[in-house]
Symmetry: C2
Subunit: 220 residues, 2 copies
DNA sequence: GCAATCACGATTTTCGAAAATTTTGGAATT
DNA sequence: AATTCCAAAATTTTCGAAAATCGTGATTGC
């Protein structure tokens, strides 16, 4: 792996995790110290992250971690619902045995991690990776690279908002998120598109609501 | 404007235009010659374009112009219809006088250029810019930055396919594209969402069909 | 006292060369 | 004749310094 790729992964991780908070200026000299490399690979990584809207750039004035706003989060959730319900219909319509088997596997691996976790805030990253993998496995058979591309982009955009909530309450504070995932997978595997789409939409609306109140609380 | 930004614009232009054909390896030494600058600004531009899927990159093996395929084009059109119909409904629902005025202006400027053009292949870029601006103006009031972001990404993705057709037949080969634009704007301004969405979808399906047969012909 | 100006330090941007890696072409071996 | 191996060439990647630009604070002029 090249240094530029390491820089990309490290920066991306630190931004999504919040180690580099929103709005923070990303000075080359600092980053060079922090990640132990020269300017070139860092600038490459920053340019890629800029195109993904994880960092902002102003000509001759350097880079910053992109700001967070409740409005942007709500917007991202709205578009996620639009795009992912369409992808889900496609996956249910055209998914084969591989899709079904991978979905069962992803759900199972997610469950194992949730049970291992038992509310502890450790290994949040393993949990997060399993969660991402589950949602990806659910949609993957839709057969549309662009739908998947938009899914990935919006997933990381919303990930930035969900991580702080996860760190505070890894099990989901009263809500049985795992049961929602199981029901969603069940409906998809039963090829019940209408139910599956409704469950997916409800899943996101509940998650959005939880994060919304969390952000309001934090502001108070 | 920094050299990196110039490099980004120039590369983007040359890729969309087809001056740098799909699959062509983008060697730093060549690009340095072609655009008259060092490696650094070029690498930055290439990294941004990679994130936009206009170029592909393989570790230690350099960059290439991203390939074209009929399947990818059809996929992009499908997602454009999904996303833009949603944005159009939003714009019609919440667009104010500024939106309406800008839309009228964009349609008018597009018409002026079409008439000036009169089938000649010159100034295709002015025409293309007006066309892009019209579709942007149509959706802009939807109030969703993410919907607009996806629109922009997919517009340039499909632009690569449409430009060769435009160069061959600037007026649209029998089809009165300008009438479609006018009808679309009229329905939107009349706040008739159902009609406007139907016209937008039909507009894209016809364009896709024209390009599809064109590509098939070229292959024969 | 206050605004405009200038010089300095901090920072970004770019270059040119060095380092690392892949690719190429040919010689040696089977 | 085909394959493997190695050195040379081509190419990408990275660094360190130079150039360009921005922001700041002191200084000057009014």
């Amino acid at each position: 792996m090249t240094l530029a790729e390491k820089a990309y992964d490290a920066l991306r991780h630190d931004i999504v995790r919040g180690a580099l908070p929103a709005g923070r200026p990303l000075r080359l000299a600092d980053l060079s110290q922090r990640y132990g490399m020269g300017f070139s690979p860092l600038r490459e990584a920053l340019n890629r992250l800029q195109a993904e809207r994880l960092v902002t750039a102003e000509s001759l004035r350097g880079f910053k971690v992109a700001p967070l706003s409740l409005a942007e989060f709500e917007d991202a959730v709205r578009v996620r619902i639009l795009v992912e319900t369409e992808a889900l219909r496609g996956a249910i319509a055209s998914g084969g045995d591989d899709w079904a088997a991978n979905l069962v596997a992803a759900l199972y691996a997610l469950r194992l991690q949730v049970e291992r976790q038992q509310g502890r805030a450790e290994d949040i990253w393993e949990l997060e990776a399993r969660h991402h993998a589950f949602h990806r496995a659910l949609l993957l058979a839709c057969g549309s690279p662009w739908l998947m591309e938009v899914f990935e982009r919006l997933y990381t955009a919303t990930e930035r908002y969900r991580i702080p909530a996860l760190l505070a309450a890894p099990t989901g504070a009263g809500r049985n998120i795992q049961a929602e995932h199981a029901a969603l997978a069940e409906a998809a595997l039963a090829r019940d598109a209408v139910t599956a789409v409704a469950l997916l939409e409800a899943h996101y609306r509940r998650t959005a609501e939880a994060i919304r109140t969390r952000i309001s609380d934090a502001a108070a």
